[in-house]
């Protein structure tokens, strides 16, 4: 018997084969973990997932019971094979028939077909060709060496051949031998003997010395062939083996709940993304990478939460609100393509903004509690901001404002109960003018939403990045008393409930990633840097300023591209597109991981919150430098833009922490000031100080 032999990768194997090609006529490969790698470990988890999906389809059975039934059917077949003098191999076709009959109580060809399709789909999602495998097979074939694959596997020959074809290896194998078809395994050596016999019919005069077998299993792929005189080579890929063990460990830890299921889930996503050469190439660009690795997990988890909400509430239509609902609509459209067999509510992209609904909401007058919405603008200009927020022309109200003591309309009002403001709003002449403008705006808004099918639906959902649910509130204020006003749900990425609380909506409004009413401080990272999420999700067009009529249709009037803030936005649009391409890339792998694991949004959210905490509070220098290039506008009726980045602080500033905290606390991305230190302790201490301050204030 020859000396045991091992190689560390395919390149080393090729180098070894190159010097011996004259003596080698056939190279045989193991399939799983040799030619193909799985993105999910352990492999049993795919069977568990198939069992869960079958249990869901049959109903009244737990996933564990369905899996146990499969195990029982499998062992019965294996015992029968042993008693027939074969190895303990079993074949997928009789296994599925026996399994389904056990669960359904009778043979059911439809369910058998479902199991076959599902297992094939999940295996195909899980498997990829190992890096270097394709090149090695091509190299061998180009040199006239016969290439075969031998696998110990319960799947049928055709099933496995289809999986190899899905991974791009199908045409590179001269023949495929599967243990299930022969009832013989590699581990006993009997399958290798049979393969030699059959290959001998093709290659005349073939002896074991002409064959090399490569695999990752010492017993089946090295010892057993060597006892027959075949050169067995052990593929000793340590990094890959450790990856599989780590994933198996993660799967065990996932049973603990908390952050572990999410971490396990994103290990699967991460491995798939690593194997995707196009994704890797695109990720060389910072914005694509950030979209795929930071915004992608957050937005995809939000989308999964949205899908789960849809399945529960079953709305007739989904209204994605311009502009930040733009990316969510694209993601939803893609999810529908990936899950074609289901009934999905129709998506409608509606042009609505805080400004147009605010204008409509003052058709019955402007109350002080409505007016203060304008003061949430960090660059508010007092009464001028109030008028602009509600789309009221400042020149129409200047004379009445002066009467109430406003010398300068643009003077910031830090006291939200300023007596001049209250007197101005109490003036009936002011309210008459406001009402006349508001009535026109309300009528146009009504016609626009009617045109979109809003009032013709029984139940609808508004989908947006969120924050305060202002559009949902003002729509209800404007039209809530109509008899045909639908049952409106608001499903937002984040709901901070700062401006109007939840305005009595209860569970009709929800932030799926962040909801301030849950009082879970771990969720707060999106609140500490709202701008990046708005930027990542927004469309390239301007905000909606109002509506106009054209050919009997109500069309939105968007902000002119010549406005100073629009110029900045337009310049950033290519960067936003790269963010969004990254997010959509991520979604492909996220969906595959979801199909494979079946995790719910709530299970993976804790880990996503960790990713967001890292990105918001502990950014690196490159992230701060690149993201600071973005121009952010505030939708308060002004042409303001917001500086995202903060000037870096010095070590000296750390000696006066309170002063430093006061200086930074109102900045949009305060934590960016610490990125240049290159270590995370200053940001960690600042986060602690920030959370203590939040706790004190609440």
């Amino acid at each position: 018997m020859k000396k045991p032999m091992r190689v560390k990768d395919f390149a080393a194997l090729q180098a070894w084969l190159e010097t011996r090609l004259d003596a080698i006529r056939c190279v045989s490969f193991d399939v799983f973990d040799t030619l193909l790698a799985r993105c999910i470990e352990p492999p049993d988890d795919i069977q568990r997932r198939v069992a869960a999906l079958l249990a869901e389809k049959i109903g009244g059975i737990t996933p564990d019971a369905a899996f146990e039934a499969r195990r029982a059917a499998e062992w019965e077949l294996r015992r029968a094979a042993l008693s027939d003098g074969l190895d303990h191999e079993c074949h997928f076709d009789p296994l599925v028939e026996s399994w389904v009959a056990r669960l359904a109580g009778h043979p059911d060809p439809a369910l058998v077909g479902f199991v076959h399709r599902t297992e094939r789909e999940l295996e195909s999602l899980a498997l990829t060709a190992k890096p270097g495998a394709l090149a090695l097979l091509e190299w061998l074939r180009a040199r006239g060496v016969r290439v075969i694959a031998v696998s110990d596997m319960y799947l049928s020959h055709d099933h496995l051949a289809a999986l190899l074809a899905d991974c791009g290896l199908g045409g590179l194998l001269d023949r495929l031998y599967v243990s299930s078809e022969f009832g013989l395994g590699k581990y006993s050596g009997r399958l290798h003997v049979r393969v030699l016999e059959l290959e001998g019919q093709t290659l005349e005069g073939l002896t074991p010395a002409h064959v090399v077998h490569v695999g990752d299993n010492l017993a089946s792929d090295m010892r057993a062939p060597m006892q027959l005189g075949i050169r067995g080579i052990y593929l000793d890929e340590r990094v890959e083996r450790l990856r599989r063990r780590r994933q198996t460990l993660s799967a065990e830890m996932a049973a603990l709940g908390g952050v572990w299921p999410g971490r396990r889930f994103f290990e699967v996503v991460d491995y798939r993304m690593e194997q995707d050469a196009a994704c890797q190439a695109a990720c060389a660009d910072f914005f694509h990478h950030y979209g795929a690795h930071v915004l992608g997990p957050a937005f995809s988890t939000f989308l999964l939460g949205l899908i789960e909400k849809i399945e529960t509430a079953k709305p007739d239509k989904l209204f994605f609100l311009a502009r930040d609902g733009y990316l969510f609509e694209k993601m939803y459209a893609r999810w529908r393509e990936l899950e074609p067999g289901k009934h999905w509510p129709e998506p409608v992209y509606v042009y609505a903004s805080r400004r147009v609904v605010a204008m409509a909401s003052v058709a019955e007058g402007l109350r002080p509690e409505q007016a203060v919405v304008a003061f949430y603008n960090p660059k508010q200009q007092g009464l001028l901001s109030v008028l602009k927020t509600f789309g009221l022309p400042a020149e129409d109200f200047a004379d009445l404002a002066r009467e109430q003591g406003f010398a300068d309309l643009a003077e910031p009002l830090h006291d939200w109960g300023d007596p001049r403001l209250l007197a101005f709003l109490a003036d009936e002449r002011v309210q008459t003018r406001i009402r006349s403008i508001g009535e026109i705006a309300r009528e146009r808004l009504r016609r626009y939403f009617e045109q979109q099918g809003f009032f013709a639906s029984e139940r609808v959902a508004l989908v947006d990045i969120g924050w305060n649910g202002t559009i949902q509130k003002f729509l209800r204020d404007s039209f809530g008393k109509r008899p045909d006003y639908p049952d409106v749900h608001g499903w937002y990425f984040a709901f901070v409930a700062a401006m109007h609380g939840d305005f009595g909506m209860g569970d009709r409004i929800e932030g799926l990633i962040l909801d301030a009413r849950r009082d879970d401080s771990y969720e707060r990272a999106p609140m500490d840097f709202e701008e990046i999420f708005e930027q990542g999700a927004r469309s390239g067009e301007g905000t909606t300023l109002g509506y106009a009529e054209q050919d009997g249709q109500v069309i939105p009037v968007l902000k002119d591209d010549g406005a100073p803030d629009r110029q900045g936005e337009i310049a950033c649009n290519p960067l936003i597109e790269r963010f969004q391409a990254g997010v959509l890339d991520h979604l492909e792998h996220f969906h595959a991981a979801w199909r494979l694991t079946g995790h719910h949004a709530t299970e993976i959210k804790p880990y996503v919150l960790g990713l967001l905490e890292r990105a918001v509070v502990y950014p690196n220098r490159e992230e701060v430098r690149e993201i600071s290039r973005l121009v952010h506008t505030e939708d308060f009726g002004h042409d303001h833009t917001l500086d995202i980045g903060v000037l870096p602080i010095r070590y000296f500033d750390l000696l006066r922490p309170r002063r430093l905290y006061r200086k930074l606390k109102n900045k949009p991305w305060k934590f960016s000031a610490f990125a240049h230190f290159g270590w995370t302790l200053p940001a960690w201490l600042f986060r602690l100080m920030h959370l203590l301050d939040v706790r004190r204030r609440s």
């Binding site: 018997m1 000396k3 045991p4 091992r6 010492l218 090295m222 010892r223 052990y234 000793d236 340590r238 083996r241 450790l242 063990r245 780590r246 460990l249 830890m253 603990l256 908390g258 952050v259 572990w260 971490r263 994103f266 290990e267 996503v269 991460d270 993304m273 990720c283 910072f286 990478h289 690795h293 997990p297 009082d519 879970d520 401080s521 771990y522 969720e523 804790p606 880990y607 919150l609 960790g610 990713l611 905490e613 890292r614 990105a615 509070v617 502990y618 690196n620 490159e622 995370t680 960690w684 986060r687 602690l688 100080m689 920030h690 959370l691 203590l692 939040v694 706790r695």
Partner: protein, 76 residues
């Protein structure tokens, strides 16, 4: 770009360190993204064990040794 970009996978230790301000500052009622100190230790020890203990290589080297011993025995 001098540094490798931060990807999807955060180490468990890093998650734990990032969760400390929430425990100290907010006394949060939920576990959030904290892996829990005990689970963190269990995970890291098991990962270390996987890293150190290489059953496959051990079996391979035992097999190689047996092969050498057999050859010596045959020569004798």
């Amino acid at each position: 770009m001098s540094r490798k970009r931060i990807g999807l996978m955060l180490s468990v230790g890093r998650l734990w360190a990032m969760s400390r301000p929430f425990r100290l500052g907010c006394r949060s009622r939920t576990p959030g993204f904290s892996p829990g100190a005990r689970d963190l230790v269990v995970y890291e020890l098991r990962r270390l064990w996987h890293w150190i203990y290489e059953r496959e290589r051990l079996v391979y080297h035992v097999g190689s040794l047996q092969h050498v011993l057999n050859r010596i025995r045959r020569r004798q």
